[in-house]
């Protein structure tokens, strides 16, 4: 039985401020003169969204900022009304849309629990039966009779989470609140969510940006894009498609922003060029086949002698995370850069990184490890997978190990 049934849901908002008396008079004037009146622009926050959710399902809702996730939740919680289409929800709904929405700073924690519970539809008796458990879970025994305004923000959030998950609603709606409190509380709250889902069979809807966390909890995901339901299905597939989308966006950004400019520069030297050996270039980006060697040529002009220098070179991905670095500090001999021009060739063997664009980062330090010249995303490369490996290599990793495998059949005893 479907507990949530959304059909052709569309929500339009008017942009801009509410019309004032002045606007009305101006519009009236235009109407008299037969000119078109000034209307406020409309914006579709949700555009023809349809889906249904069965009892006991756990569904994640993902999408970029402004994709309509929170607007969707607002409709499910009956807070707002659709412009067209329908939303049918059977059963009681506990919204965690923002933890502690109804908290009053002047009241004590205990008073706020009663207030919040009755807002969520519990009677005093029901609240009294749960209150000890709520306080215990929030770890606030000591502070429960202190006004909330004296709480730290973590304490208030913990109390809010504890209250919202203690209400025995049929449907839980969660908006990015799994990550409340410190790490230990986060772990506790995820365990509690999982308990609600598995033991009590609640229907749960979770909106979030932490896709990995969502993937773990929700077997099914909805992907919203510009107010439209772009995907609905198995969370592995949906999150992969969402990641690919984000990666593409990030990759374009990485390649676009790439330029030979230092972040730190003491003007004791200049890096004149960074070149990458490659057989193939697409739009000026060097293509490096997976498992081949990468050779980087760096041209440096030193204005003074730099003795005992250290040079680090690394590759970072579109999220600006370095996936590996090579350093001259591991060499036996010291590097002395005398005044003048130098050419440096670095060979990084057997590039075994997950396919995609990478930026080159370079750091040059003097004997005291004082940075002389450093920068990242100086030059883009793109690691590409050759046809023989496509569909053979596993995905969802930053790189690949070259491993040797040894299978021995154990003799039966």
């Amino acid at each position: 039985m479907a507990v949530i049934e959304v059909k052709n849901l569309t929500k339009e908002y008017q942009l801009g401020a509410l019309t004032s008396l002045k606007d009305n008079i101006l519009n009236l004037n235009r109407r008299i003169q037969g000119k078109p009146t000034q209307e406020r622009k409309r914006f579709k926050a949700l555009d023809d969204v349809s889906f249904s959710i069965e009892k006991g399902e756990v569904v994640g809702i993902i999408g970029h900022n402004g994709a309509g996730k929170s607007t969707l939740l607002k409709h499910l919680a009956k807070i707002t009304t659709p412009t067209s289409g329908s939303v049918n929800v059977t059963g009681t709904v506990a919204p965690l849309i923002e933890v502690g929405a109804g908290f009053v700073p002047d009241l004590t924690g205990r008073e706020n629990i009663y207030l919040n519970c009755s807002i969520m539809g519990l009677t005093r008796k029901q609240t009294a039966a749960k209150i000890d458990e709520i306080i215990e879970f929030a770890e606030l025994e000591e502070f429960i009779d202190t006004p909330i305004k004296r709480y730290s923000s973590g304490m208030a959030v913990r109390l809010g989470f504890s209250v919202a998950t203690s209400i025995d609603a049929d449907i839980l709606i969660v908006d990015e609140v799994l990550a409340v409190g410190d790490l230990s509380f986060q772990r506790k709250s995820i365990a509690r969510m999982e308990n609600l889902i598995k033991e009590k069979g609640k229907t749960v809807l979770i909106v979030g940006h932490n896709i990995r966390q969502l993937e773990r909890i929700c077997p099914r995901m909805l992907l919203l894009r510009h107010g439209q339901l772009a995907m609905d299905g198995d969370s592995g597939q949906v999150s992969k498609s969402f990641f690919d989308e984000s990666t593409q966006k990030n990759s374009k950004g990485l390649i676009h922003d790439s330029k030979l400019q230092p972040a730190t520069d003491t003007e004791e030297m200049e890096v004149r060029s960074i070149d990458v050996n490659s057989v193939q270039k697409v739009d000026g980006i060097s293509i490096i086949p997976l498992f081949s060697d990468l050779i980087i040529h760096i041209n440096i002009l030193c204005h003074t002698d730099i003795n005992n220098a250290e040079i680090n070179i690394g590759l970072h991905n579109a999220e600006m995370i370095f996936v590996g670095k090579a350093s001259t500090s591991l060499l036996k001999n010291a590097i002395n850069l005398s005044k003048g021009e130098h050419t440096l060739a670095v060979t990084i063997q057997n590039i075994s990184l997950s396919p995609g664009p990478y930026g080159i980062g370079l750091g040059i330090y003097d004997w005291a490890r004082r940075p002389i010249w450093s920068g990242s995303n100086l030059q883009p490369i793109s690691v590409e997978i050759s046809p023989e490996y496509v569909s053979k290599l596993p995905i969802g990793t930053l790189g690949y190990f070259s491993a040797s495998w040894d299978f021995t059949r154990q003799k039966q005893t």
Binding site: L18, I79, T81, A101, G102, D106, I119, R124
Partner: protein
């Protein structure tokens, strides 16, 4: 209509809790606490008594301070229920954007809060009546009925007003001002008998006197205040002929006000 009342009964606990919250928040960090609730009628009573000693208002055989206090009680209850009701929806923006429950709860909560303050007013009134040696009769049993009717009058204004206020905050600004002026059009400072005397007996406004009187009692508060004083001091049951015009006005306006509120309610979260 029946469904509405049923719905409200289901939410009565929430109304009480929210009203308790309002009171707790208002008086918690105040040294004098609930005493502030009766300060306003007491001060006004003293001022009016002082003014009366200059201008001379005929109050019959009932001591003027008691008479004016008994008029101020329903008046202030009505005025504050209405003006706080009008601002009540906007004041709970955070809740409206997060959680659904029937929004008419907010004006009702504002009124429930004022009901408690009215209750404290009765303690003061009892003190005043004891001081003047006045003994109430069984007709005070009418008081709950009169108060219930006052609540309907206040809701007529606060439901419509609070919904408009979500869209245009002018309402929340204007209404308290208009209401405080309205006090002079209600028999608070002077008793209704005086108006009757001038218009109906003396025909002070000539041919217009009777019409003017009807317009005057179209204001539900005219009948309410008179009935309140009558039940307390004159052992009278409410005078239907005085109450009727106001009742008709409310019977027409309250459903309209409620329907407008319910229609606007669906978009509160978008606009507020």
């Amino acid at each position: 209509m029946i469904a509405t009342v049923k719905n409200l009964l289901a939410y009565r606990e929430l109304i009480l809790v929210l009203a308790w919250k309002n009171i707790a928040v208002r008086y918690k960090q105040a040294y004098m606490g609930l005493a502030w609730a009766v300060l306003k009628p007491l001060m006004l009573m003293l001022i009016f008594t002082l003014v009366k000693s200059f201008v001379g208002i005929e109050s019959g055989d009932i001591p003027y301070p008691v008479l004016v206090f008994a008029a101020l009680m329903p008046w202030i209850f009505f005025q504050e229920s209405a003006s706080e009701g009008v601002n009540s929806v906007v004041a709970h923006t955070a809740l409206i954007k997060k959680i659904y429950f029937p929004r008419e709860i907010f004006p009702l909560v504002a009124m429930t809060t004022k009901l408690l303050e009215l209750g404290i007013g009765f303690i003061i009134l009892a003190g005043l009546m004891t001081w003047y040696g006045m003994v109430p009769t069984a007709s005070i049993l009418w008081l709950p009925v009169i108060i219930a009717y006052t609540m309907l009058a206040a809701l007529t204004i606060s439901l419509f007003g609070s919904a408009v206020n979500v869209y245009y905050r002018d309402m929340g600004q204007a209404l308290p001002v208009v209401l405080s002026l309205f006090m002079y059009a209600s028999p608070v400072i002077y008793p209704l008998t005086l108006v009757k005397q001038k218009l109906l007996v003396e025909q002070a406004a000539g041919d217009w006197s009777n019409i003017l009187y009807t317009i005057y009692i179209l204001n539900p508060l005219a009948g309410i205040i008179d009935a309140f004083q009558g039940a307390l001091f004159r052992s009278q049951s409410p005078d239907i002929s005085t109450l009727l015009p106001g009742m008709i006005a409310i019977l027409i306006l309250l459903p309209f006000s409620y329907l407008y509120f319910k229609r606007a309610e669906a978009y509160f979260a978008d606009v507020i």
